[in-house]
Symmetry: C2
Subunit: 455 residues, 2 copies
């Protein structure tokens, strides 16, 4: 059984490893467009900050027993009748690979916004090792003193942290009214403060229009009179799925142009699976497909695809949009739906915020944690949560308690029944997660009582 | 409605607060034997270590709006017909308190082992504020240079850390073959190493027999020729439920002599509830009662009792024995059943251990985390987990992912479907929890395949 995988990032490698694990006889081949299998895209900001100085460390393994990896082969076409994939090698020669089962894991590419001057030297996207080498080389040779980052999502903010870490004066220009729009504005504002505390200038509701070159620097123009001189511009305004290969083979696309797949990660073409940033993502709460390109999701989808390719029957469990980011000393995490998302989906959404210490205040190093809980006011069901607090306050694994609760469709009130761990240096007898849940229930009750009284 | 609560520690205060929250008209009264409402027993080691120098900080609140607290009143009897509780005030006068609903939250007391010389000056138990004041006073006045701690459970080990923090040479004498017997010996050994790394001498399988007084020091004798000079002995070998008040009123006791209650925390006497360290604890996995005196449990039981006392109908969700402890720079956590416990309960228990980094190795500060997963080899059901790693590696909230999974009777294999958070400074695309779960499944499969082949 020949299992051919196009793409050697999260989805592709996870699929290969899972297939290898389950089927000792499968011939597993990965076609890799570049030279970097299993690389951590999420790690690029830390390579560029200097915190992970050796780019080789971004992949802890690049060779896998029993998995053939062809580097520098860009897949150019799928013959779904003959069951072959043609690929252009680096010398432009076309190679043909037969398959019994195929996985398309072609990933995503940075969205190119409508900004004049994107091709000027010193202007970069960041999504691949190649991009990061170009940026690294530029940082070393041109020694930029000032950088403008267009976009205030995860990558934009991590790069603000990274470049500030290198002593570069950073300005962020965000199209959205608050930074990190995946969390509610109340938290976005706290993130902006953290950025400013580290001398990053933050401009929101700014649409970047043009970049021009002056003598020895770049000039960025944007809406509302935004103007900023710099020696470097980083554009990080999201990604779009790489679907050309799949579409040319006859596959249909859906949300944001991503490939359609079922929950087993099978496409409409027999024996062809697709996974990762190139496909639509089943959303566990919404019970429909969305586009949520995340490494965690790609790994899970790839693992399901790999299992199914060798005869298994595993559904992807679904995403709940769980995400976390560290920006300087702050960690912000979310899972499920925000208030606005939940309202849009027709829930009787109700959101409260609670502040408590991450551990007992009498034990040194206690820090305040802000937790926003969104639930359905009618059914009491938990819909989502967001947490903001300092690095070291176990924010990331606290959001995972909510994520696990959401997975099981718990009610907000039920969180208080969870037997969570406690010791004074690490929590309270009611974990902050539970205090926030209790607070939601009490606030909802008193609101409902007031409403009843007013009637 | 008069809601009377005997005991103002975790269960009592939680009950009072919940009743207050739900019923604005209830008259809520707490009888407190000592002078310290709402005190964190779990915090005593940190007060004694000097890390929380002000004992007053161990209770963040001692007054509660709408809750009457009578200090220094020890309940002496319940008249279940007249519905009154008599209490001895500090001047020995007997006061009588009427109730409509009563909660017994009398807690637990340290077990007194059979050791000669326990009443010598310099020998202490540790369970109440009074004990900790006595120890504090002794530390200040006698300035002990050497201490022996009898018992290697949570309190014993936290006190070893605390006294070492003060520069005292500590020796632990543990009756069990490994320290921290609530986790498996493999982890107990790692804890012993951490203790020894901080110059704490650890003796296991030692039964302390006698303490005697020499001129200016104490002498502790134990089995296997154990002998140790010191200026201070701390005895921490567990607790027993305080049930005299309840038993005198006619209540029955069960496991380890704790009061019988139903899952609503009601006793067999009408309108009398009981909660906290004085009662049996419903175990969610075992579907039967056990004795697991923990602050987290006491809070939850108290909250249920308080809700039911004012007309609610809330069951205690059950304990899974989730616990965590920090010892020097190490954190050890557990939830559910260990291999030996699961076998004893009739499960086809299977346990594996997996080691991974707490976050991406390329990001600074990555530390190894050891995770032991116990599941049922026949059904695949998750039964328990233990985690050991460094302080700061989010061990505590990682065990809570397992605890939340156990709450929902997940299979080990299902953990891989959880949408957990990831960013390189805080985790991996597969969280260590998920890597450990995957490892369990793979190891089980290959073991089962081997077994099949051998057949």
């Amino acid at each position: 059984m020949r299992f051919l995988i196009v793409g050697g990032s999260d989805a592709g490698i996870s699929a290969a490893l899972r297939a290898r694990e389950l089927d000792q006889n499968a011939e597993i081949t990965v076609l890799l467009a570049d030279d970097f299998p299993n690389y951590s895209i999420c790690g690029l900001p830390f390579y560029l900050s200097g915190e992970a100085p050796d780019w080789k460390s971004l992949a802890h393994r690049t060779e896998f027993d029993g998995i053939t990896i062809h580097r520098g082969q860009t897949a150019t076409g799928i013959d779904v009748i003959e069951k072959t994939v043609s690929a252009a090698a680096e010398d432009k020669k076309i190679v043909t690979h037969p398959y019994d089962k195929l996985l398309i894991g072609t990933g995503a590419s940075p969205v190119t916004p409508h900004i004049d001057g994107l091709n000027l030297p010193g202007v970069f996207p960041l999504h691949t090792m190649k991009h990061s080498f170009a940026i690294h080389e530029y940082l070393d040779s041109a020694k930029p003193r000032r950088a403008v980052i267009v976009g205030a999502g995860y990558i934009g903010l991590e790069m603000a942290d990274a470049l500030a870490h290198r002593g570069i004066a950073v300005t962020i220009a965000s199209r959205t009214p608050s930074v990190l729009p995946t969390v509610e504005p109340a938290f976005g504002e706290a993130v902006a403060k953290e950025l400013e505390r580290h001398d990053v200038a933050v401009f929101t509701s700014v649409e970047a229009h043009a970049i021009s070159r002056a003598e020895d620097h770049l000039h960025v123009f944007g809406s509302g009179g935004f103007e900023q001189d710099c020696e470097m511009v980083l554009v990080a305004v999201g990604v779009k799925p790489n679907v050309e290969l799949g579409v040319a083979a006859g596959l249909k696309t859906g949300t944001k142009g991503a490939l359609l797949v079922d929950r087993r990660m099978a496409t409409a073409i027999p024996d062809v699976y697709a996974a990762g940033d190139c496909v639509e993502t089943w959303h566990r709460l919404l019970h429909r497909y969305t586009y949520l390109p995340l490494g965690t999701t790609a790994h899970k989808q790839g693992r399901s695809a790999g299992e199914n390719a060798v005869g298994g029957n595993r559904e992807f469990g679904g995403s709940m949009g769980t995400q976390v980011v560290k920006i300087f000393d702050l960690v912000v995490a979310r899972t499920g739906l925000r208030q606005d998302e939940a309202l849009r989906e027709g829930f009787s959404a109700y959101t409260t915020e609670n502040t408590s210490f991450d551990h007992k205040a009498y034990y040194p190093g206690a820090n305040q944690v802000r937790i926003r809980v969104t639930g359905d006011g009618k059914t009491g069901r938990l819909l989502g949560a967001q947490i903001l607090g300092s690095w070291g306050a176990e924010i990331s694994k606290r959001i995972d308690i909510f994520a696990t609760a959401l997975f099981h469709e718990m009610k907000v009130d039920g969180l208080g029944d969870l037997d969570l761990s406690y010791t004074p240096p690490l929590s309270s007898p009611w974990d902050p997660v539970q205090m926030a849940a209790h607070n939601w229930s009490v606030a909802l009750n008193s609101e409902q009582m007031e409403t009843t009284c007013r009637k």
